[in-house]
């Protein structure tokens, strides 16, 4: 197995606050790594540092062995790193299909071919396949803003896969999603992981979701890595129980 993502000693401070304080970990190809920890422990900041939304104060991030620290999010995305956000981030005025085409179009051709080529950038079929995969068929031409919250969450996740990413970072994909849809989402993510060998890092507070989906779980507290291991190891770790899970 090769490491898709290598994070070494990443630090990020805002003024005097050390939001991320020297975190190192690797993610192997095909793995689903869960990232848990109490609110404010630096999970999302760590994501933003990995993805170029924030520039780390120190440390290094490698994707497929290549240093990517300091790259812009759009450049990282074209290298095959994709993400979802904690809050919903679909484009409400575009239809479901348009949202998906938009999510994949910058991976097709170049600026010129995107101007002069077909208006769907050749992605209609791929978008419809993704729509089918996430069971959004009856909604393909609806404006994304008109979908229910759970459906928008599914679309949001689907968009992250349109560029055929190697690595996807999901920030609370289950937040606010009802139980039925949560099962769907988990099953879809597991299927993509199996079929496409896509590697995931998932931030999530829903323990049942994390423990059943992830192959490995890492726990953060106060900007530092607290524990790392299989779901059962982490669940049994006294420090984790103390800081996060509770007795």
């Amino acid at each position: 197995m090769t490491a898709v993502l290598e994070v070494s000693d990443v630090k990020k401070s805002f003024g005097g606050i050390k939001a991320v304080d020297g975190v190192s970990f690797d993610v192997q190809e095909g793995e689903i790594l869960g990232l848990i920890g109490p609110n404010g422990c630096g999970k999302s900041t760590l994501f933003n540092c990995i993805l170029g939304q924030l520039t780390p104060t120190g440390g290094e991030v490698k994707v497929d062995g290549k240093v990517v620290t300091g790259l812009r999010p759009s450049e990282l995305n074209r290298l095959g790193v994709s993400r979802t956000f904690q809050l919903l981030q679909v484009f409400p005025k575009l239809s479901v299909r348009e949202n998906l085409i938009l999510a994949g179009q910058e991976h097709q051709g170049n600026m010129m071919s995107r101007l002069l080529g077909p208006s769907d950038a050749g992605l209609s079929a791929a978008a419809d396949q993704m729509i089918g995969f996430f069971k959004l068929d009856h909604l393909a031409t609806e404006a994304a803003g008109g979908l229910s919250y759970g459906q928008q969450k599914l679309l949001d996740a689907a968009m992250a896969f349109m560029g055929g990413p190697r690595l996807v970072l999901l920030d609370e994909p289950a937040g606010g999603v009802n139980l039925t849809m949560l099962g769907d989402l988990k099953e879809r993510l597991a299927a993509i992981n199996r079929e496409k060998r896509a590697t995931f890092v998932v931030i999530e507070h829903n323990m049942e979701f994390v423990m059943s989906l992830c192959t490995r779980v890492m726990v953060m507290a106060e900007g530092k890595l607290l524990a790392m291991g299989t779901p059962s190891e982490v669940r049994a770790n006294p420090a984790v129980i103390e800081a996060y899970l509770g007795h």
Binding site: Q53, S74, N77, S82, F91, K93, L102, A121
Partner: protein, 333 residues
């Protein structure tokens, strides 16, 4: 969309185009002048609609680009004796380049801050038009601007020149239609609605922002190269800040981010004052009040009203369908 709706739309489009060609044949010189002005201002407003309406970047400098295009046309065709098409090429390249540079502040500042940056540029351009006598003849302006020969046809008379403007508008409209339906158009909308998410989807927001400014400004330049032979005399006054504000109003009143917004907005801004002339001294006041009322009633402009109506109807139709489906479920054994 249903097939009937599609044919209805095509029929309406053909009728409007036919009317724009046939009806003005009986117009007098002044009527044709006003209509030509409408076509020219629509082109400039379409450019601003791309920058502001689609890509969401505020600009108060579109009037300056019309000025740059107009001066390029005036100087090249009078002093240089060159054909208008050459001036058009120069105006497009010049405005595209300056628009691109003007886009850089938009990478750092947004909204009203950006408005002020572009406003400063607008003032700068006006000062160049007025003070650089050696190039622009300053406040005396440039007169006797010739009208072009298009494929052997002279457009000196008002009707042929109107057709020239209308044809130009047609070409620009087709190009714009293509652009906003292309992946670029989608990227521009993404830029307006959620730049952070756009960036995370691999969309190079920096490049698209600059492109939105450059293309929008280039269309301002195209409008300018038509404006100069339309009036056949230009001085700096029409290209001051108020033209930029007028163009902004056309975009907002027509419906910012709607393809046909600029057509309607320019029609209202150019034609409505003329229609209200019978009220004599009051027409500008009535015009101002009409614009205020419209924007209170519908901040998304005239096409915003239509859009709301159509969405409501669709929602109603959808919920009616759902109700039918539900009642069937309930009555089923």
């Amino acid at each position: 969309m249903t097939a009937t709706g599609k044919y209805l739309r095509i029929g309406l489009g053909v009728a409007v185009i036919a009317a724009l060609i046939i009806v003005p044949m009986n117009f007098n010189r002044y009527g044709l002048y006003i209509l030509s002005q409408w076509a020219v201002m629509t082109i400039a407003a379409m450019g601003l609609n791309l920058t502001l309406g689609y890509a969401g970047q505020v600009s108060l400098a579109q009037g300056a680009f019309v000025g740059i295009g107009a001066y390029a046309a005036a100087i090249m065709t009078t002093q240089g004796g060159m054909p208008l098409i050459a001036a058009l090429g120069v105006a497009i390249v010049l405005c595209f380049a300056i628009g691109w540079i003007l886009g850089y502040p938009a990478l750092r500042v947004q909204h009203h801050y950006l408005a002020f940056v572009t406003l400063a540029f607008s003032t700068l351009a006006f000062l160049v038009f007025r003070n650089e006598d050696w190039l622009t003849k300053g406040i005396y302006g440039i007169s006797n601007i010739p009208r072009p020969n298009v494929m052997g046809f002279a457009t000196n008379r008002p009707l042929p020149f109107y057709y020239f403007c209308l044809g130009s508008l047609g070409i620009v409209s087709l190009a714009m239609w293509w652009l906003i339906r292309s992946p670029w158009g989608r990227a521009f909308v993404a830029l307006r609605e959620n730049p952070v998410r756009a960036l995370s989807l691999g969309i190079d927001t920096r490049r698209y922002t600059l492109m939105a400014f450059a293309i929008g400004s280039a269309l301002g330049g195209v409008a300018g190269t038509l404006y100069a032979p339309l009036t056949q005399y230009i001085d700096p006054v029409p290209f001051n800040l108020s033209l930029s504000l007028d163009l902004l109003m056309m975009v907002i009143v027509g419906g910012s981010g709607f393809f046909f917004g600029p057509f309607l907005g320019a029609m209202i801004a150019v034609l409505l004052p003329e229609w209200l002339r019978f009220t004599q001294g009051y027409y500008l006041m009535l015009y101002a009040v009409a614009v205020m009322l419209l924007l209170i009633y519908s901040p998304t402009g005239i096409l915003g009203i239509l859009d709301r109506y159509l969405t409501e109807r669709r929602t109603k139709a959808a919920s009616a369908l759902r109700a039918v489906a539900k009642s069937r479920l309930e009555t089923a054994p």
